[in-house]
């Protein structure tokens, strides 16, 4: 059973939570986490599955990688996520950081 629940909102919610810390790229981190959730794999298995090394995946999920620099294979399965809307949200957070 799968759902049509709007997972973009869940990403927004997680990004807002991550942004309360000192994370540099909370939206990118939340997207990376959501994509791994789509695959239902732990970090190591996901890294192997998408062909990205484990430290790079971990860095993405830790918010060290900008939205536009997320490795393409990592976000290939972004089903249920509105990446354009999330890019806008990322820009919003970035403008807040730069203000």
């Amino acid at each position: 059973m799968t759902t049509d629940l709007d997972c973009t909102r869940l990403v927004e919610r997680l990004a807002a939570h991550l942004a309360t810390g000192s994370m540099r790229h909370p939206v990118a981190a939340a997207v990376a986490i959501a994509c791994r959730g789509n695959a239902a794999l732990d970090l190591r298995d996901f890294a192997i599955a998408v062909g990205v090394d484990v430290p790079s995946v971990a860095a993405c999920e830790a918010g060290d990688v900008a939205f536009g620099d997320l490795p393409a294979p990592l976000v290939a399965d972004h089903e249920g996520l509105d990446l354009l809307a999330l890019a806008d949200l990322d820009a919003f957070y970035a403008s807040g950081r730069n203000a």
Binding site: M1, T2, T3, L5, D6, C7, R9, L10, R13, L14, I33, A34, R36, G37, N38, A40, D42, L43, F46, G80
Partner: protein, 224 residues
């Protein structure tokens, strides 16, 4: 939930218990319809059918409910109830917190109240408090029915409900039962714990003084 879905569910709960947020997405993608059913039922019971018609707000509540399950995943046991059933009270509490309780009774409620009578208590004849699990158990198991009977003698209707809800939440592994029950009844967590303590003291005295309740002397709820 069977077969592959069951495997995914157990994997989600295990990973969420370990604090992996990716599996909150896995859980939401696979099991949100079940969670949504629980949220809808609570909304109907709270008289908030208006929220049912608002897709955005309903989605937000379902996400809240998934988050409730995520936060409590460590207490879930795979041989027990399904997570959305296990966390039913906590979900209800979260829904109530998010939308507020209805304060104006509907005509349907008035009709139901007149059918039910003016007072709710935990006695054998009036066990329907919305405490469905406890009520169902009491109908099936004589010892639980005996406990319900004793509880009905131990305090006000509200205190009985608070006590049973609090004890159920604790048994279900809720890490913060006094907060969950407190939100539902408009009490502070300290009040809830005081009521629980008071009820247990009264129950212990009633059970000790009543030979018919001898089977309850070793019940964990009383000793805890």
């Amino acid at each position: 939930v069977k077969g592959r879905d069951r495997e995914v569910l157990e994997q989600c709960m295990e990973r969420m218990a370990a604090g992996d947020p990716a599996f909150l997405f896995t859980f939401a993608r696979h099991f949100a319809p079940h969670v949504a059913n629980v949220v809808r039922r609570h909304l109907v019971e709270m008289g908030r059918r208006d929220v049912l018609a608002d897709r955005d707000e309903l989605d937000a509540l379902v996400i809240d409910a998934c988050d409730v399950i995520y936060g409590r995943a460590g207490g879930w046991q795979s041989h027990g109830a399904l997570p959305w059933t296990w966390a039913d009270r906590a979900i209800r509490s979260e829904v109530a917190r998010a939308i507020g309780h209805r304060t104006v009774p509907s005509e349907a409620d008035d009709e139901r109240a007149s059918e039910r009578g003016p007072e709710c208590s935990l006695g054998r004849d009036g066990i329907d408090l919305g405490l469905d699990d406890f009520g169902a158990l009491a109908r099936r198991h004589p010892v639980v029915a005996l406990l319900a009977d004793a509880v009905a003698r131990a305090g006000s209707a509200r205190d009985q409900r608070v006590f049973v809800e609090y004890r159920l939440q604790k048994e279900l592994g809720d890490p913060s039962p006094s907060h969950v029950v407190g939100r539902e009844f408009g009490l502070t967590p300290a009040n809830v714990r005081q009521i629980d303590c008071r009820m247990r003291r009264k129950l212990a005295a009633i059970i000790a003084a009543t030979p018919g309740y001898a089977d309850l002397r070793d019940v964990r709820w009383i000793a805890a």
